[in-house]
Each structure stands twice: as structure tokens, then as C-alpha cells.
């Protein structure tokens, strides 16, 4: 097994009379572990012979909290899972909830959610690509990436009121409709994004040091990717042709998403056969460009109309109705009081989205009450980190930061 995970020309030094192995503890406090993971490495000089990862250093009890918070309150917690693209978690959570409730959001809501999901994807990949440079010592790539992310934060702040954890989605809709100047700001961002991506590419893509440190490193075969449950850019970099947006379309990725025959948004999904860190970096860059293309197609075509579903008593009513009409007041109380609230059907549902990290799914079990009976997150980072122990064998210690970064492990999603 180790032979397939080494570069051509690399070989393991067998443990002979002169060879000694030693144990190194890597983390959980370490500059190159993105937040908190820990690996115990068995080393032969600089080469890693085996690695055992320990996780759980950020386990906060998310899934238990899902059993005491209702379907709209839980979006606050869910935002804090994949914290580099927070709004994507909320969109995926409410995709699953709406599948459970058996409702479909309005076309306007779908368009806004799709734009937000793609902005979140760009946000996630920008951080990953920036930190790909940072972990190898190229601080400027990090600054370029973060500068572009600040523009996305401004967009989310205008949309939802908060730059980071937006808690924007609700069952059946979103918390507030898009403000008037928002599409113009998004279009301005889309004009500036290619320049930011070109800056990062100019620093890294043809940089000899970057290539030498990432080509052939951390190879994952497509069979292993599928067997280990890996999805998303990591799997696509290994050659697995799978993207939920194309294979199980949802939101605006499906044909006739607005009920009037609009086609699905047009975009390409990059797939590579190289399977190494460099391939994952290239795929993320290309996915960002494709996301920008998706947003361009939607931003001028957001359908007018209500943003929340109107035929269920699900969304919170408008405040003018709450304050000035008795029906609005009753409707408001029916939704928020703890002995009332949501009344979903009894049953289970699984809803998944293709987020920047892979297939983010939620398995929601409902007993008819206002809180989920069980809110299970299917975290892509959890499945991707399993692979780490296998793909790092045979590499050197200094190969760990690029491999770890290319898997895009978010500790909060991993540990929940």
C-alpha cells in the first residue's frame, strides 16, 4: 500500500541496524495544523513511517444541541461548522429541512440561495488557496486571498446584517429579502474577482517552489477516494466524476427551477487525474472561476416575487403585520412559542448540497415536534481526514502542511 502513495524515485528506508524510528507529536497546538488536530507520527529521520491522528479537540456537542433547538434556531449552530463558508451550511441544513417538511422554496429564494452558495464556495476556496501559499511560506498569497474574501464579507453584511455568521436561511425562505443595491455590489465584486485570482495564480501556479512542493505529494487514487467516502474537490482531483450540482440537482442547478422553464445554470466541473496536492489546488482555482460564471448568470435574473413560501405558516410574518394585525400577532406567536412552533411530518429525510468541501448532508429525524429528534451532519472533512493517515506515509514532515491544507479539513466540521 505504501508503494502506491510515494512519488516515483522515493523509497522507504528499511529499518536496519542503523535505522531508528522515533515518535513525534504534531499538534494540537501547531502553526500548520489549521486549528486543532493532532497527529502522532512515527518517523524514520524525516520520513513518515506511520501516522495516527487524534481528533475531537473541538468537539462541542453540535448534534446534541440539534435536539433542543428548533429548525430555525439550529441554523445558528450549523453556521459554525464549516466556518470558512458559513452560509453554505445553512443552505444545506434548510435543504434537508425542506425535504423533511415537503416544501419547495420560491424561485426568488432559490436564486438568492444559489448566489450565496456560490459566494460561499468562492470564500472557502480563496482561503484554501491563500493558505496553500501561507503554509509553504508565501505570505502574500494569503493576503491576496483574504483581501478578496473581505469583499465577500461586505456582500454578506449588506445582505444579512452580519459579515461572518449570517444565519441567513430559514425553513421555507430566508430571514430577509435582498436589499436593492446588492446585485450591483455583487457585479462589482465579480469584476474584481478575476484580478484577485490572477494575482494568486501569478504567485503560485507556475512557481517552481510551489510545484516542487506539491506535485506528486499526497496522492489519492480514485478507488481509495470512493472507498473512503471522500467527495468534493479532493475526490474530483483524483478522477471521481461526481458533483451533486450536476448529478442530483437542487436549487438553480436543476432545470425549470423557477417553474417557468428556466434552464439550469451552465457551468463546468473540473476533474483531474493527477490526484495530488497540486491538482486539488488547480481544481479549486477553476471552481472559483466557474462559480463566478454561475453568479453572473443569476444576478441579473433574480425573479421577482415573494422570497418566503406563502402557503405554509412557516416563515415569520412581516413585522408590520405582527404589530398592526391580530392575525400577524397570532401567527408570530404560533411560530416562536416553545409549546407551539414547527409541526413537521413524522419521518426522516436526508438532504445534501455540494459545498466547497464536498457533500455536506444532513440526516434529520423528526417526531413531529418543533425540534429535530436527531440532526446528524454528514461532514465532508471527517471523511477526508480519515484518508490522511494513508496518504502521508512515505512523505517528509515538511509535506504535511500542504497535504493537510489540500484536504481542507475544517476542525469544527470534523469534530462537531
Amino acid at each position: 500500500m505504501t508503494a502506491t502513495h510515494t512519488r516515483p524515485g522515493m523509497q522507504l528506508v528499511p529499518e536496519g541496524p542503523g535505522g531508528e524510528r522515533w515518535i513525534l507529536n504534531y499538534g494540537p497546538q501547531h502553526p500548520a495544523t489549521h486549528t486543532v488536530f493532532r497527529m502522532v507520527l512515527e518517523l524514520d529521520g524525516e520520513r513518515i513511517v506511520s501516522s495516527v491522528t487524534h481528533v475531537g479537540y473541538l468537539h462541542s456537542g453540535f448534534e446534541k444541541l440539534g435536539e433542543v433547538l428548533d429548525y430555525d434556531q439550529y441554523v445558528v449552530i450549523v453556521d459554525r461548522m464549516n466556518y470558512v463558508s458559513p452560509i453554505a451550511n445553512g443552505i444545506a441544513w434548510h435543504t434537508a429541512c425542506e425535504r423533511l417538511f415537503g416544501i419547495e422554496p420560491t424561485p426568488r429564494c432559490k436564486a438568492i440561495r444559489t448566489i450565496c452558495a456560490e459566494l460561499a464556495r468562492i470564500q472557502d476556496h480563496l482561503l484554501n488557496v491563500g493558505v496553500a501559499g501561507l503554509d509553504l511560506g508565501g505570505f502574500t498569497a494569503f493576503l491576496y486571498g483574504f483581501n478578496a474574501r473581505e469583499a465577500i464579507y461586505d456582500l454578506f453584511e449588506q445582505l444579512s446584517g452580519s459579515r461572518f455568521h449570517t444565519s441567513y436561511t430559514r425553513v421555507g425562505g430566508v430571514s430577509m429579502d435582498m436589499p436593492d443595491g446588492w446585485p450591483a455590489n455583487v457585479k462589482r465584486f465579480l469584476r474584481e474577482l478575476p484580478r484577485a485570482l490572477d494575482d494568486v495564480e501569478a504567485l503560485l501556479t507556475k512557481n517552481r517552489i510551489f510545484i516542487e512542493r506539491t506535485r506528486g505529494i499526497g496522492y489519492l487514487s480514485p478507488e481509495d477516494a470512493v472507498a473512503w467516502g471522500v467527495t468534493g474537490p479532493v475526490a474530483r482531483a483524483s478522477g471521481v466524476r461526481r458533483d451533486l450540482r450536476k448529478d442530483e440537482p437542487y436549487l438553480c442547478y436543476a432545470d425549470n427551477w423557477d417553474g417557468r422553464g428556466s434552464p439550469a445554470v451552465d457551468f463546468k466541473v473540473p476533474v483531474s487525474r493527477l490526484g495530488d496536492v497540486y491538482a486539488r489546488y488547480l481544481i479549486r482555482l477553476e471552481e472559483m472561476r466557474q462559480s463566478a460564471h454561475i453568479i453572473e448568470q443569476l444576478i441579473d435574473n433574480i425573479p421577482p416575487g415573494p422570497v418566503d413560501v406563502t402557503d405554509e405558516k412557516l416563515p415569520l410574518p412581516d413585522k408590520r403585520e405582527v404589530f398592526f394585525s391580530i392575525e400577524g400577532l397570532i401567527h408570530h406567536f404560533e411560530r416562536i412559542m416553545t409549546n407551539r412552533g414547527f409541526r413537521p411530518p413524522v419521518g426522516e429525510a436526508y438532504g445534501a448540497n455540494e459545498t466547497a468541501n464536498g457533500e455536506l448532508g444532513y440526516y434529520v429525524v423528526s417526531d413531529g415536534g418543533r425540534c429535530p429528534y436527531r440532526a446528524r451532519t454528514r461532514p465532508p472533512s471527517f471523511f477526508q481526514y480519515q484518508v490522511f493517515d494513508r496518504i502521508v506515509v512515505g512523505h517528509q514532515i515538511s509535506d504535511i502542511p500542504p497535504i493537510l491544507n489540500s484536504l481542507n479539513i475544517i476542525a469544527a466540521e470534523l469534530d462537531r
Binding site: G56, H59, G61, D247, E248
Partner: protein, 181 residues
Amino acid sequence: MKAWGSSTSSVVQVLRDRFPEIDFAPGALRPDEAGPAAQIGVRVPADRLVEVMRFLRDDPRTRFEQLVDLTCVDYLNFPGARDRYGVIYSLLSITWNHRLWVKCFVNDPDPCVPSVCGVWKGAEWPEREVYDMFGIRFEGHPDLRRILTWEGFDAHPLRKDYPVTGRGERERFARVTRETA
């Protein structure tokens, strides 16, 4: 672009043909949902689990190459539940683009399920997590130990009889003060 579960009913038929003695009790995950887009779950008894899973992975008509998720639900307070723990496997076929949910029910005391690590390698950590959170033992697992909670913790937090705020574990630490540090 296929809709979800469009060929899942044929999967259930294939399963029934191959294992006529098992009552799979197929049904939509949400009981009032019907139609081609419904998500289908089947029940498999624990003693036949690995055999059925291996068949599902290898048979060319089903080809569930990927185990998407492995989780558990504690049905202790669920209305109308007969068994306590339901271990739920979400399967995905990349070739045919369909999904299936397999449920295996076990009970106290000493809930135990055979491990599917031999079928899908990616089951290793999720099974450890189910062991950690629910206390279900997986026979044949290469390395069954706690994964998310800390050493010395002996409860299983996601069980329904464990309180959300815990039993005081989060208050039992030594204090480090400015004088002692």
C-alpha cells in the same frame, strides 16, 4: 441528470430476489412521501448485515461503491418505536446515481453490530464515532476506541438519557491562576 432515487425501487427488487428470506420492509424515509423521488430505506438484521452490504457494493445492478454516511439514532422517546438504536447507513452508487438507506436495529444491553470496514474502508471513523456517541460495539472493527470525546469519559453523549449540559464534566478542571502559572 437523474432525480434522486429514480432506480431505487429496482434495487429493492434485486435485494428481495437475492435474499428472499430477509424481510427488508422497504419504505420511504418519510412515510407520507411517495413517488420516484422518495428516499427509500430498508431494514437488515444485524447477523446478515455484512453479507447484504457486500452484495450491495459488488452486484452490478446495485453497485453502491460509496458509503456516504454511517450514523445512529436513539429511538428511546420516539413515538411508535420498537427498537432502541437504529444504525443507519447511507449508500451511494456513483455508477447508477442512486441512493439507499440501510437500517440495522439493535437494543440494550450491549448493542452490537458487525463492522462494515471490510466492505467500505471509510466506515472506520464513523463507526468509532457511533461507538463514542451511542455505545454501540462494532465487531471486527480494527481499532474501536473513542474518537471525539476525551480520555476518561465513560458516558455516551448522544443517547437520549444523557443531558445536553452534561453531568458536570465541563466544570472539573484545575484552576491555573496568575500566582501559580
